[in-house]
Symmetry: C2
Subunit: 358 residues, 2 copies
């Protein structure tokens, strides 16, 4: 019952000073005209040590300070889809950055999931407040919610490029376009000409960018872009074999393991007959599965950079009018993807494939 957390007032009593004095000592601040003697300061510090006092963050926050907590909100619930693989790597980077910055990370897991996506509204809003700012990840953002964020001037940063609302939404993204183009360079350098793109067309930014990168890369080399877009893995595999590709680019969400299994069942060996480049890390890596060639998204770095950006936004946001505002941070950051060696890329064997038409 008498569980009463020790407060500054308690410390003050023990040290024989006022609560305000304790606060001053703790914050090591001397608001114009306030002086604390070394001796008094020591007494307060002793009292703090003896009592094991620790500040109540809620009170700190309420009294106008920052919580040193940064939030992470994921639109898609982590579970139905890709287990942890997807957000996990971002989180690693985020945690790392958090450690550097000396802040805590609040995962907004409480927002109810509706139609497979978390709602930032209602309950969601209530919770955001504890954090000084928030990282947003996931594709399914909602216009209304975004508008509200902007209206309230709440600091936030997206992980993943945002096409809409140019310039207003801060984000840290991965450069899918040039990474995809680069894969074509790799293939061409190994003698490939007939290069297909396998994947469903979505309206999500990564997909759009991959396709743009593919188009661009093929065009630059004077090659013809060919898309394979089917639901069924078997049918897709058949189509790939039919088309006589010597190499394909595959989006990672398209079950590349199953796909290649099917292709190989049809007598086409990977990579000797067909090189397969994965446009990102596999979503559902199999235990003991393939080592994919292609590129990987620098998720950890993205997470880290995003948190740093957010931190700067928070700082900029709270800097008083009087103080010299720090240089406004760069709102949009694009990170390069890194090529992955893997074992699904080989030189074109040259002989028995359909000649390229371009």
């Amino acid at each position: 019952m008498p569980r009463h957390r020790i407060t500054q007032a308690d410390v003050a009593t023990i040290a024989g000073v006022s609560q305000a004095t304790v606060s001053f000592v703790l914050n090591d601040s001397a608001p114009a005209g306030v002086r604390i003697s070394a001796e008094t300061k020591q007494r307060v510090l002793d009292a703090i040590r003896i009592t094991g006092y620790s500040a109540n963050p809620a009170a700190q926050r309420l009294a106008g300070g920052l919580t040193q907590i940064l939030g992470v909100f994921t639109y898609e619930s982590t579970f139905p889809r890709s287990g942890r693989g997807f957000y996990g790597n971002f989180l690693v980077g985020i945690e790392h950055a958090a450690e550097q910055l000396g802040v805590d990370i609040l995962l907004f897991t409480s927002a109810r999931v509706v139609d497979g996506r978390r709602q930032l509204t209602r309950d969601g809003w209530q919770r955001l407040g504890v954090a000084d700012g928030c990282l947003l990840l996931g594709q399914q953002e909602d216009r209304g919610e975004l508008q509200h964020l902007l209206d309230t001037n709440y600091p936030f940063v997206f992980i993943g490029k945002r096409g809409s609302d140019r310039g207003r939404l801060p984000y840290v993204g991965a450069d899918y376009v040039s990474a995809t183009t680069r894969q074509i360079e790799r293939l061409v350098a190994l003698g490939h000409r007939r290069i297909g793109y396998v994947g469903l067309r979505g309206t999500d930014q990564p997909t759009l960018d991959r396709i743009e990168g593919y188009r661009l890369g093929m065009k630059e080399r004077g090659l013809t872009a060919r898309f394979v877009e089917l639901d069924d893995v078997g049918a897709t595999a058949a189509e790939i074999v039919d088309q006589g590709f010597t190499a394909i680019l595959v989006a990672p969400e398209n079950y590349p393991d199953e796909l290649v299994d099917e292709v190989e069942r049809r007598g086409t060996r990977v990579p000797s007959d067909l090189s397969v480049l994965l446009l990102g890390q596999p979503h559902h890596p199999r235990p003991g599965g393939r080592a994919w060639s292609g590129f990987s998204i620098p998720r950890e770095e993205m997470g880290a950079r995003a948190l740093h950006l957010l931190s700067r936004l928070v700082a900029a946001d709270t800097s008083r009018a009087g103080t010299r505002r720090p240089q406004p941070p760069e709102l949009h950051q694009m990170l390069a993807c890194v090529d992955v060696e893997g074992s699904t890329l080989a030189a074109r064997d040259g002989a028995d494939h359909r000649t390229e038409d371009a």
Copy 2:
């Protein structure tokens, strides 16, 4: 400058009522003797909708409520060691449980890392307060810190069995002992007799339990326990081959991939000549690496169960003396590990191995 979050007072003004009334409507509570008419209630709700009001959690917490935030503190920094693999799976379970419970998760990433482990003291304490309770994971707990936790009656739960301080420390652990014993049953059933244990002896609970399980299992079958404990992978492999084991149990932190590579380089095939059972998931899984047989720790479930337990502790902790206390939760929970099929286990081929002496 005038960024002024909307407060209950604002809402009250708009609705033409008092702040208290807004609070009552929001909490849907009618503290003995307080009545709100349906009409008034509606006006308040309208005002809330119009303004987009959301409560300030810091204020809520300060005013005596719970934040619905549960903390997660990891002693070892995630990075130097095993990347994310280690804590990640726990986190998945924790998140899942958090979703069910409708709480947010606070990762205490701010505590400075000293000698490779996070300090819960000083800064650490300051931060704990926002959360209603806290999950602790990692081996390197500090006695003093624990004592403080107990003293302050702050709700917490360990992930991982705790041997010390019997009975006082709530935890959710994995049953390494019987899982290890069970592996021996598996091996014996396949004709193995000469079964070695490979791994450094540590004083951490998992290691102690694995060794106990091994001893127990071998004893039950009347077999002789043999330990291989070397730093060098090559030397360890040589020793394994020398000893003529037909099967070994390997702790996952002992680089099983490298070990088996070395063993096979010496002409011993896995699993035909030597079965290898991993006592837990690999710490550093190789891309395209082996599918290990053995058992796996139900990390996700552990995380989930731990959070549920914590949640109950928090509830028990804050239930008023007047209200009927709920049944006190079971402070110690041991979860069974699940056997993994994998591809490193085979029946003993029977012929050319040293006969077992037992």
